[in-house]
Symmetry: C3
Subunit: 173 residues, 3 copies
Protein backbone atom coordinates (compact mmCIF):
# COMPACT_ATOMS: atom_id res chain seq x y z
CA UNK A 1 0.00 0.00 0.00
CA UNK A 2 1.29 3.45 -0.95
CA UNK A 3 0.27 6.43 1.16
CA UNK A 4 0.98 10.16 0.90
CA UNK A 5 0.67 12.29 4.04
CA UNK A 6 0.57 16.02 3.30
CA UNK A 7 0.49 18.78 5.86
CA UNK A 8 1.82 22.17 6.85
CA UNK A 9 4.63 23.08 9.20
CA UNK A 10 4.25 21.20 12.53
CA UNK A 11 0.85 19.93 11.49
CA UNK A 12 1.34 16.45 12.93
CA UNK A 13 2.00 14.76 9.58
CA UNK A 14 5.05 12.80 10.78
CA UNK A 15 3.17 11.63 13.89
CA UNK A 16 0.34 10.33 11.76
CA UNK A 17 2.78 8.57 9.43
CA UNK A 18 4.50 6.95 12.43
CA UNK A 19 1.14 5.75 13.75
CA UNK A 20 0.27 4.26 10.36
CA UNK A 21 3.67 2.57 10.23
CA UNK A 22 3.10 0.94 13.59
CA UNK A 23 -0.40 -0.16 12.63
CA UNK A 24 0.99 -1.82 9.50
CA UNK A 25 2.35 -4.67 11.65
CA UNK A 26 5.43 -4.74 9.42
CA UNK A 27 9.08 -4.02 10.13
CA UNK A 28 9.41 -0.27 9.74
CA UNK A 29 12.35 1.25 7.88
CA UNK A 30 12.75 5.00 8.32
CA UNK A 31 14.24 6.88 5.37
CA UNK A 32 15.38 10.34 6.43
CA UNK A 33 16.03 12.82 3.64
CA UNK A 34 17.47 15.43 6.03
CA UNK A 35 21.17 16.02 6.37
CA UNK A 36 22.65 17.90 9.29
CA UNK A 37 24.06 20.94 7.51
CA UNK A 38 23.90 23.40 10.41
CA UNK A 39 23.12 23.55 14.12
CA UNK A 40 19.42 24.26 13.68
CA UNK A 41 19.01 21.33 11.31
CA UNK A 42 20.95 19.08 13.69
CA UNK A 43 18.52 19.99 16.46
CA UNK A 44 15.49 19.41 14.23
CA UNK A 45 16.79 15.98 13.21
CA UNK A 46 17.51 15.04 16.84
CA UNK A 47 14.00 16.04 17.86
CA UNK A 48 12.42 13.93 15.10
CA UNK A 49 14.67 10.99 16.02
CA UNK A 50 13.67 11.21 19.69
CA UNK A 51 10.01 10.89 18.64
CA UNK A 52 10.56 7.61 16.79
CA UNK A 53 10.66 4.07 18.20
CA UNK A 54 14.26 2.95 18.77
CA UNK A 55 13.88 -0.30 16.90
CA UNK A 56 13.29 1.38 13.54
CA UNK A 57 16.42 1.20 11.38
CA UNK A 58 17.14 4.61 9.87
CA UNK A 59 18.56 5.16 6.41
CA UNK A 60 19.78 8.65 5.56
CA UNK A 61 19.40 9.42 1.89
CA UNK A 62 19.18 13.06 0.79
CA UNK A 63 19.24 12.49 -3.00
CA UNK A 64 18.83 8.95 -4.34
CA UNK A 65 15.45 8.03 -2.86
CA UNK A 66 14.51 5.40 -5.43
CA UNK A 67 17.74 3.51 -4.73
CA UNK A 68 17.05 3.64 -0.99
CA UNK A 69 13.57 2.19 -1.50
CA UNK A 70 14.91 -0.55 -3.78
CA UNK A 71 17.23 -1.74 -1.03
CA UNK A 72 14.23 -2.54 1.19
CA UNK A 73 11.71 -3.55 -1.46
CA UNK A 74 10.20 -6.52 0.33
CA UNK A 75 6.63 -7.07 1.47
CA UNK A 76 7.83 -7.54 5.05
CA UNK A 77 8.74 -3.84 5.22
CA UNK A 78 6.83 -0.61 5.71
CA UNK A 79 9.10 2.24 4.62
CA UNK A 80 8.45 5.73 5.97
CA UNK A 81 9.98 8.53 3.88
CA UNK A 82 10.28 11.83 5.77
CA UNK A 83 10.11 14.12 3.92
CA UNK A 84 9.72 14.61 0.18
CA UNK A 85 10.02 18.40 0.13
CA UNK A 86 13.46 18.16 1.72
CA UNK A 87 14.42 15.52 -0.84
CA UNK A 88 13.24 17.95 -3.54
CA UNK A 89 15.28 20.77 -1.98
CA UNK A 90 18.39 18.59 -1.77
CA UNK A 91 18.05 17.67 -5.43
CA UNK A 92 17.43 21.23 -6.59
CA UNK A 93 20.53 22.39 -4.71
CA UNK A 94 22.61 19.46 -5.94
CA UNK A 95 25.30 20.50 -8.36
CA UNK A 96 24.36 17.66 -10.72
CA UNK A 97 20.82 19.06 -10.96
CA UNK A 98 19.54 15.59 -10.30
CA UNK A 99 15.86 16.35 -9.79
CA UNK A 100 14.24 15.21 -13.03
CA UNK A 101 16.23 11.98 -13.02
CA UNK A 102 15.53 11.12 -9.40
CA UNK A 103 11.85 11.99 -9.68
CA UNK A 104 11.44 9.84 -12.81
CA UNK A 105 13.12 6.89 -11.07
CA UNK A 106 10.79 7.16 -8.08
CA UNK A 107 7.59 7.44 -10.11
CA UNK A 108 8.58 4.53 -12.34
CA UNK A 109 9.38 2.36 -9.35
CA UNK A 110 6.06 2.85 -7.57
CA UNK A 111 3.95 0.51 -9.69
CA UNK A 112 6.08 -2.53 -8.89
CA UNK A 113 7.09 -1.91 -5.24
CA UNK A 114 6.32 -4.77 -2.88
CA UNK A 115 7.05 -2.85 0.32
CA UNK A 116 4.47 -0.55 1.84
CA UNK A 117 5.60 3.06 1.60
CA UNK A 118 4.34 6.07 3.55
CA UNK A 119 5.54 9.35 2.08
CA UNK A 120 5.49 12.49 4.23
CA UNK A 121 5.58 15.87 2.49
CA UNK A 122 5.00 19.53 3.23
CA UNK A 123 2.12 21.21 1.48
CA UNK A 124 3.85 24.50 0.55
CA UNK A 125 1.71 25.87 -2.27
CA UNK A 126 -1.07 27.66 -0.39
CA UNK A 127 0.75 30.87 0.54
CA UNK A 128 2.31 33.71 -1.38
CA UNK A 129 5.38 32.47 -3.24
CA UNK A 130 8.40 34.48 -2.05
CA UNK A 131 10.49 36.43 -4.55
CA UNK A 132 13.25 34.55 -6.32
CA UNK A 133 13.34 31.96 -9.07
CA UNK A 134 14.44 29.14 -6.74
CA UNK A 135 11.33 29.62 -4.58
CA UNK A 136 9.15 29.60 -7.67
CA UNK A 137 10.81 26.49 -9.04
CA UNK A 138 10.54 24.75 -5.65
CA UNK A 139 6.81 25.57 -5.44
CA UNK A 140 6.18 24.37 -8.98
CA UNK A 141 8.09 21.14 -8.56
CA UNK A 142 6.52 20.36 -5.17
CA UNK A 143 3.04 20.87 -6.65
CA UNK A 144 3.74 18.67 -9.67
CA UNK A 145 5.32 15.96 -7.51
CA UNK A 146 2.34 15.88 -5.16
CA UNK A 147 -0.09 15.58 -8.07
CA UNK A 148 1.85 12.72 -9.64
CA UNK A 149 2.30 10.89 -6.34
CA UNK A 150 -1.31 11.41 -5.27
CA UNK A 151 -2.50 9.85 -8.54
CA UNK A 152 -0.40 6.75 -7.78
CA UNK A 153 -1.03 6.39 -4.04
CA UNK A 154 -3.79 4.27 -2.53
CA UNK A 155 -4.46 6.80 0.20
CA UNK A 156 -3.74 10.55 0.44
CA UNK A 157 -4.22 12.40 3.72
CA UNK A 158 -3.95 16.10 4.51
CA UNK A 159 -3.20 16.88 8.17
CA UNK A 160 -4.37 20.20 9.64
CA UNK A 161 -3.75 20.97 13.33
CA UNK A 162 -3.06 17.30 13.97
CA UNK A 163 -6.41 16.31 12.45
CA UNK A 164 -6.16 14.00 9.40
CA UNK A 165 -8.45 14.63 6.43
CA UNK A 166 -8.55 11.77 3.93
CA UNK A 167 -8.47 13.22 0.41
CA UNK A 168 -8.36 9.85 -1.38
CA UNK A 169 -8.72 6.20 -0.48
CA UNK A 170 -10.01 4.31 2.53
CA UNK A 171 -10.91 6.15 5.76
CA UNK A 172 -8.53 5.94 8.70
CA UNK A 173 -9.46 3.80 11.69
CA UNK B 1 -23.71 27.77 -13.51
CA UNK B 2 -20.92 29.67 -11.74
CA UNK B 3 -17.98 27.72 -10.33
CA UNK B 4 -14.90 28.74 -8.38
CA UNK B 5 -11.87 26.44 -8.44
CA UNK B 6 -9.32 27.27 -5.76
CA UNK B 7 -5.97 25.61 -5.28
CA UNK B 8 -2.31 26.10 -4.53
CA UNK B 9 0.65 26.36 -6.87
CA UNK B 10 0.56 23.51 -9.43
CA UNK B 11 -2.27 21.84 -7.58
CA UNK B 12 -4.13 20.81 -10.73
CA UNK B 13 -6.78 23.53 -10.50
CA UNK B 14 -6.56 24.54 -14.18
CA UNK B 15 -6.75 20.89 -15.26
CA UNK B 16 -9.90 20.41 -13.24
CA UNK B 17 -11.42 23.59 -14.68
CA UNK B 18 -10.60 22.41 -18.21
CA UNK B 19 -12.25 19.06 -17.53
CA UNK B 20 -15.37 20.80 -16.20
CA UNK B 21 -15.43 23.05 -19.29
CA UNK B 22 -15.33 20.05 -21.59
CA UNK B 23 -18.04 18.28 -19.62
CA UNK B 24 -20.29 21.36 -19.96
CA UNK B 25 -20.97 20.43 -23.59
CA UNK B 26 -20.86 24.14 -24.44
CA UNK B 27 -18.51 26.15 -26.60
CA UNK B 28 -15.59 27.02 -24.33
CA UNK B 29 -14.12 30.52 -24.31
CA UNK B 30 -10.79 30.82 -22.49
CA UNK B 31 -10.12 34.16 -20.80
CA UNK B 32 -6.43 34.48 -19.93
CA UNK B 33 -5.52 37.20 -17.44
CA UNK B 34 -1.78 36.67 -17.91
CA UNK B 35 0.34 38.99 -19.98
CA UNK B 36 3.78 38.03 -21.19
CA UNK B 37 5.91 40.55 -19.33
CA UNK B 38 9.14 38.57 -19.19
CA UNK B 39 10.71 35.36 -20.47
CA UNK B 40 9.59 33.25 -17.53
CA UNK B 41 5.99 34.42 -17.89
CA UNK B 42 6.12 33.78 -21.63
CA UNK B 43 7.19 30.19 -20.95
CA UNK B 44 4.46 29.72 -18.33
CA UNK B 45 1.79 31.00 -20.72
CA UNK B 46 3.05 28.77 -23.54
CA UNK B 47 2.91 25.75 -21.25
CA UNK B 48 -0.67 26.48 -20.20
CA UNK B 49 -1.67 27.05 -23.84
CA UNK B 50 -0.15 23.73 -24.92
CA UNK B 51 -2.36 21.98 -22.32
CA UNK B 52 -5.60 23.39 -23.75
CA UNK B 53 -7.69 22.09 -26.66
CA UNK B 54 -6.88 24.01 -29.86
CA UNK B 55 -10.47 24.82 -30.66
CA UNK B 56 -10.97 27.04 -27.61
CA UNK B 57 -10.88 30.72 -28.58
CA UNK B 58 -8.61 32.63 -26.22
CA UNK B 59 -9.25 36.16 -25.03
CA UNK B 60 -6.41 37.95 -23.25
CA UNK B 61 -7.70 40.44 -20.72
CA UNK B 62 -5.43 41.43 -17.81
CA UNK B 63 -7.65 44.19 -16.31
CA UNK B 64 -11.24 44.55 -17.54
CA UNK B 65 -12.60 41.09 -16.75
CA UNK B 66 -16.26 42.08 -16.50
CA UNK B 67 -16.14 43.58 -19.99
CA UNK B 68 -14.55 40.40 -21.35
CA UNK B 69 -17.32 38.27 -19.82
CA UNK B 70 -20.02 40.58 -21.20
CA UNK B 71 -18.74 40.06 -24.71
CA UNK B 72 -19.52 36.32 -24.45
CA UNK B 73 -22.56 36.43 -22.20
CA UNK B 74 -24.65 33.82 -23.95
CA UNK B 75 -25.95 30.52 -22.64
CA UNK B 76 -24.16 28.68 -25.46
CA UNK B 77 -20.81 29.51 -23.85
CA UNK B 78 -18.79 28.19 -20.94
CA UNK B 79 -16.15 30.78 -20.08
CA UNK B 80 -13.02 29.68 -18.22
CA UNK B 81 -11.20 32.52 -16.42
CA UNK B 82 -7.59 31.66 -15.52
CA UNK B 83 -6.71 33.10 -13.12
CA UNK B 84 -8.26 35.61 -10.71
CA UNK B 85 -5.17 36.20 -8.58
CA UNK B 86 -3.25 37.35 -11.63
CA UNK B 87 -6.16 39.63 -12.56
CA UNK B 88 -5.98 41.02 -9.02
CA UNK B 89 -2.22 41.54 -9.33
CA UNK B 90 -2.61 43.28 -12.68
CA UNK B 91 -5.19 45.64 -11.23
CA UNK B 92 -3.16 46.39 -8.09
CA UNK B 93 -0.14 47.23 -10.23
CA UNK B 94 -2.22 49.25 -12.69
CA UNK B 95 -1.45 52.96 -12.50
CA UNK B 96 -5.17 53.79 -12.48
CA UNK B 97 -5.60 51.69 -9.32
CA UNK B 98 -8.53 50.02 -10.97
CA UNK B 99 -9.13 47.20 -8.50
CA UNK B 100 -12.20 48.36 -6.58
CA UNK B 101 -13.96 49.41 -9.79
CA UNK B 102 -13.22 46.21 -11.67
CA UNK B 103 -14.11 44.01 -8.73
CA UNK B 104 -17.45 45.80 -8.24
CA UNK B 105 -18.28 45.39 -11.94
CA UNK B 106 -17.59 41.67 -11.81
CA UNK B 107 -19.60 41.01 -8.65
CA UNK B 108 -22.56 43.02 -9.93
CA UNK B 109 -22.53 41.17 -13.22
CA UNK B 110 -22.64 37.67 -11.75
CA UNK B 111 -26.32 37.56 -10.81
CA UNK B 112 -27.47 38.12 -14.39
CA UNK B 113 -24.88 36.22 -16.44
CA UNK B 114 -26.32 33.71 -18.89
CA UNK B 115 -23.02 32.04 -19.76
CA UNK B 116 -21.50 29.41 -17.52
CA UNK B 117 -18.32 30.68 -15.90
CA UNK B 118 -15.53 28.70 -14.26
CA UNK B 119 -13.16 30.90 -12.27
CA UNK B 120 -9.70 29.60 -11.39
CA UNK B 121 -7.84 31.24 -8.53
CA UNK B 122 -4.82 30.65 -6.33
CA UNK B 123 -5.46 30.14 -2.64
CA UNK B 124 -2.63 32.28 -1.25
CA UNK B 125 -3.73 33.03 2.31
CA UNK B 126 -2.56 29.95 4.20
CA UNK B 127 1.12 30.81 4.58
CA UNK B 128 3.08 33.53 6.30
CA UNK B 129 2.45 36.85 4.54
CA UNK B 130 5.79 38.22 3.32
CA UNK B 131 7.00 41.64 4.46
CA UNK B 132 5.78 44.62 2.47
CA UNK B 133 2.49 46.44 2.20
CA UNK B 134 1.78 45.21 -1.35
CA UNK B 135 1.95 41.58 -0.20
CA UNK B 136 -0.40 42.35 2.67
CA UNK B 137 -2.83 44.19 0.42
CA UNK B 138 -2.69 41.38 -2.14
CA UNK B 139 -3.44 38.77 0.56
CA UNK B 140 -6.30 40.82 1.96
CA UNK B 141 -7.89 41.51 -1.41
CA UNK B 142 -7.53 37.90 -2.57
CA UNK B 143 -9.21 36.67 0.61
CA UNK B 144 -12.08 39.14 0.34
CA UNK B 145 -12.58 38.37 -3.35
CA UNK B 146 -12.71 34.63 -2.73
CA UNK B 147 -15.28 35.08 0.02
CA UNK B 148 -17.50 37.26 -2.14
CA UNK B 149 -17.22 34.98 -5.16
CA UNK B 150 -17.73 31.81 -3.13
CA UNK B 151 -20.96 33.23 -1.74
CA UNK B 152 -22.23 33.81 -5.31
CA UNK B 153 -20.99 30.62 -6.98
CA UNK B 154 -23.05 27.44 -7.31
CA UNK B 155 -20.04 25.24 -6.70
CA UNK B 156 -16.70 25.92 -4.98
CA UNK B 157 -13.88 23.38 -5.18
CA UNK B 158 -10.49 23.32 -3.49
CA UNK B 159 -7.86 21.24 -5.28
CA UNK B 160 -5.00 19.69 -3.27
CA UNK B 161 -2.42 17.50 -5.00
CA UNK B 162 -4.74 17.14 -7.99
CA UNK B 163 -7.56 15.89 -5.76
CA UNK B 164 -10.70 18.07 -5.83
CA UNK B 165 -12.53 18.74 -2.55
CA UNK B 166 -15.99 20.22 -3.00
CA UNK B 167 -16.49 22.99 -0.41
CA UNK B 168 -19.93 24.06 -1.65
CA UNK B 169 -22.49 22.80 -4.11
CA UNK B 170 -23.10 19.54 -5.93
CA UNK B 171 -20.49 16.77 -5.84
CA UNK B 172 -18.32 16.20 -8.91
CA UNK B 173 -18.96 13.18 -11.11
CA UNK C 1 -17.69 24.24 24.77
CA UNK C 2 -14.25 25.02 23.32
CA UNK C 3 -13.94 25.78 19.63
CA UNK C 4 -10.99 26.55 17.36
CA UNK C 5 -11.62 28.42 14.11
CA UNK C 6 -8.69 28.24 11.71
CA UNK C 7 -8.42 30.00 8.38
CA UNK C 8 -6.23 31.98 6.06
CA UNK C 9 -5.94 35.72 5.56
CA UNK C 10 -9.43 37.27 5.11
CA UNK C 11 -10.99 33.83 4.94
CA UNK C 12 -14.03 34.76 7.01
CA UNK C 13 -12.84 33.07 10.20
CA UNK C 14 -13.71 36.02 12.49
CA UNK C 15 -17.16 36.33 10.92
CA UNK C 16 -17.85 32.67 11.58
CA UNK C 17 -16.63 33.00 15.18
CA UNK C 18 -18.90 36.02 15.69
CA UNK C 19 -21.86 34.07 14.33
CA UNK C 20 -21.12 31.17 16.68
CA UNK C 21 -20.82 33.60 19.59
CA UNK C 22 -24.23 35.05 18.83
CA UNK C 23 -25.77 31.62 18.47
CA UNK C 24 -24.42 30.64 21.90
CA UNK C 25 -27.11 32.74 23.54
CA UNK C 26 -24.56 33.80 26.17
CA UNK C 27 -23.05 37.16 27.00
CA UNK C 28 -20.15 37.55 24.60
CA UNK C 29 -16.78 38.87 25.80
CA UNK C 30 -14.38 39.82 23.04
CA UNK C 31 -10.67 39.37 23.82
CA UNK C 32 -8.54 41.24 21.30
CA UNK C 33 -4.87 40.30 21.17
CA UNK C 34 -4.02 43.12 18.77
CA UNK C 35 -2.34 46.30 19.89
CA UNK C 36 -2.30 49.40 17.76
CA UNK C 37 1.41 49.72 17.08
CA UNK C 38 1.21 51.60 13.77
CA UNK C 39 -1.30 53.27 11.47
CA UNK C 40 -2.02 50.17 9.42
CA UNK C 41 -2.70 48.13 12.55
CA UNK C 42 -4.93 50.87 13.92
CA UNK C 43 -7.00 50.73 10.72
CA UNK C 44 -7.21 46.94 10.86
CA UNK C 45 -8.38 47.01 14.46
CA UNK C 46 -10.97 49.69 13.72
CA UNK C 47 -12.32 47.65 10.82
CA UNK C 48 -12.67 44.54 12.98
CA UNK C 49 -14.34 46.57 15.73
CA UNK C 50 -16.86 48.06 13.29
CA UNK C 51 -17.88 44.51 12.32
CA UNK C 52 -18.72 43.49 15.89
CA UNK C 53 -21.95 44.10 17.82
CA UNK C 54 -21.61 47.17 20.06
CA UNK C 55 -22.80 45.44 23.19
CA UNK C 56 -19.82 43.07 23.35
CA UNK C 57 -17.37 44.20 26.02
CA UNK C 58 -13.84 44.20 24.61
CA UNK C 59 -10.75 43.24 26.58
CA UNK C 60 -7.39 44.02 25.03
CA UNK C 61 -4.74 41.55 26.10
CA UNK C 62 -1.69 41.07 23.89
CA UNK C 63 0.30 38.74 26.21
CA UNK C 64 -1.43 37.25 29.27
CA UNK C 65 -4.30 35.41 27.60
CA UNK C 66 -4.88 32.85 30.36
CA UNK C 67 -5.30 35.62 32.91
CA UNK C 68 -7.82 37.38 30.66
CA UNK C 69 -9.86 34.19 30.33
CA UNK C 70 -9.77 33.59 34.08
CA UNK C 71 -11.34 36.97 34.71
CA UNK C 72 -14.45 35.89 32.76
CA UNK C 73 -14.51 32.21 33.62
CA UNK C 74 -18.22 31.82 34.18
CA UNK C 75 -20.73 29.67 32.33
CA UNK C 76 -22.78 32.75 31.48
CA UNK C 77 -20.03 33.92 29.13
CA UNK C 78 -18.91 33.04 25.62
CA UNK C 79 -15.41 34.43 25.14
CA UNK C 80 -14.15 35.08 21.62
CA UNK C 81 -10.33 35.27 21.33
CA UNK C 82 -9.16 36.98 18.13
CA UNK C 83 -6.53 35.94 17.28
CA UNK C 84 -4.04 33.39 18.59
CA UNK C 85 -1.33 33.97 15.98
CA UNK C 86 -1.10 37.61 17.00
CA UNK C 87 -0.92 36.55 20.65
CA UNK C 88 1.93 34.20 19.65
CA UNK C 89 3.68 37.03 17.79
CA UNK C 90 3.32 39.40 20.74
CA UNK C 91 4.83 36.81 23.06
CA UNK C 92 7.71 35.95 20.72
CA UNK C 93 8.57 39.64 20.41
CA UNK C 94 8.18 40.23 24.15
CA UNK C 95 11.48 40.95 25.83
CA UNK C 96 10.66 38.51 28.64
CA UNK C 97 10.31 35.72 26.06
CA UNK C 98 7.05 34.78 27.67
CA UNK C 99 5.76 32.31 25.12
CA UNK C 100 6.36 28.93 26.78
CA UNK C 101 4.97 30.19 30.09
CA UNK C 102 1.86 31.77 28.61
CA UNK C 103 1.15 28.80 26.37
CA UNK C 104 1.47 26.36 29.29
CA UNK C 105 -0.91 28.46 31.38
CA UNK C 106 -3.52 28.48 28.62
CA UNK C 107 -3.35 24.75 27.91
CA UNK C 108 -3.54 23.89 31.61
CA UNK C 109 -6.55 26.13 32.08
CA UNK C 110 -8.64 24.65 29.29
CA UNK C 111 -9.75 21.47 31.04
CA UNK C 112 -11.45 23.36 33.86
CA UNK C 113 -12.89 26.42 32.09
CA UNK C 114 -16.59 27.01 32.66
CA UNK C 115 -17.00 29.71 30.03
CA UNK C 116 -17.41 28.83 26.37
CA UNK C 117 -14.36 29.92 24.37
CA UNK C 118 -14.05 30.40 20.63
CA UNK C 119 -10.43 30.77 19.52
CA UNK C 120 -9.67 32.33 16.15
CA UNK C 121 -6.28 31.66 14.59
CA UNK C 122 -4.50 32.02 11.27
CA UNK C 123 -3.41 28.86 9.54
CA UNK C 124 0.06 29.96 8.41
CA UNK C 125 1.88 26.68 7.79
CA UNK C 126 0.82 25.81 4.25
CA UNK C 127 3.14 28.11 2.31
CA UNK C 128 6.88 28.44 1.91
CA UNK C 129 8.41 29.60 5.20
CA UNK C 130 10.22 32.89 4.56
CA UNK C 131 13.94 33.21 5.35
CA UNK C 132 14.87 34.12 8.91
CA UNK C 133 14.86 32.26 12.19
CA UNK C 134 11.93 34.26 13.63
CA UNK C 135 9.68 33.20 10.73
CA UNK C 136 10.70 29.58 11.23
CA UNK C 137 10.12 29.75 14.98
CA UNK C 138 6.75 31.44 14.45
CA UNK C 139 5.67 28.73 11.98
CA UNK C 140 6.82 25.97 14.31
CA UNK C 141 5.12 27.40 17.37
CA UNK C 142 1.88 28.16 15.53
CA UNK C 143 1.76 24.59 14.24
CA UNK C 144 2.41 23.08 17.67
CA UNK C 145 -0.13 25.38 19.33
CA UNK C 146 -2.83 24.46 16.82
CA UNK C 147 -2.20 20.74 17.35
CA UNK C 148 -2.39 21.05 21.12
CA UNK C 149 -5.50 23.22 21.03
CA UNK C 150 -7.24 21.09 18.42
CA UNK C 151 -6.74 18.03 20.62
CA UNK C 152 -8.46 19.84 23.50
CA UNK C 153 -11.28 21.59 21.60
CA UNK C 154 -14.75 20.13 21.11
CA UNK C 155 -14.99 21.51 17.60
CA UNK C 156 -12.32 22.57 15.08
CA UNK C 157 -13.30 24.38 11.89
CA UNK C 158 -11.18 25.43 8.92
CA UNK C 159 -12.62 28.32 6.90
CA UNK C 160 -11.75 28.63 3.20
CA UNK C 161 -13.26 31.45 1.10
CA UNK C 162 -15.86 32.01 3.81
CA UNK C 163 -16.94 28.36 3.69
CA UNK C 164 -16.50 26.50 6.99
CA UNK C 165 -15.15 22.93 6.92
CA UNK C 166 -15.58 21.06 10.20
CA UNK C 167 -12.40 19.10 10.92
CA UNK C 168 -13.50 17.79 14.31
CA UNK C 169 -16.68 17.72 16.36
CA UNK C 170 -20.34 18.34 15.64
CA UNK C 171 -21.45 19.77 12.27
CA UNK C 172 -22.46 23.41 12.10
CA UNK C 173 -26.12 24.30 11.73
Amino acid sequence: MLQLILGGVRSGKSSLAERLCQESGKQVIYVATATAGDDEMTRRIARHRADRPDQWPTVEEPIALAAALSAYDDERYCIMVDCLTLWLTNNLLDTKDSWQTEKAKLLQQLSTLRADVIFVSNEVGLGIVPMGSLSRRFSDEAGWLHQELAARCDRVVMVVAGLPQVLKGPPLD
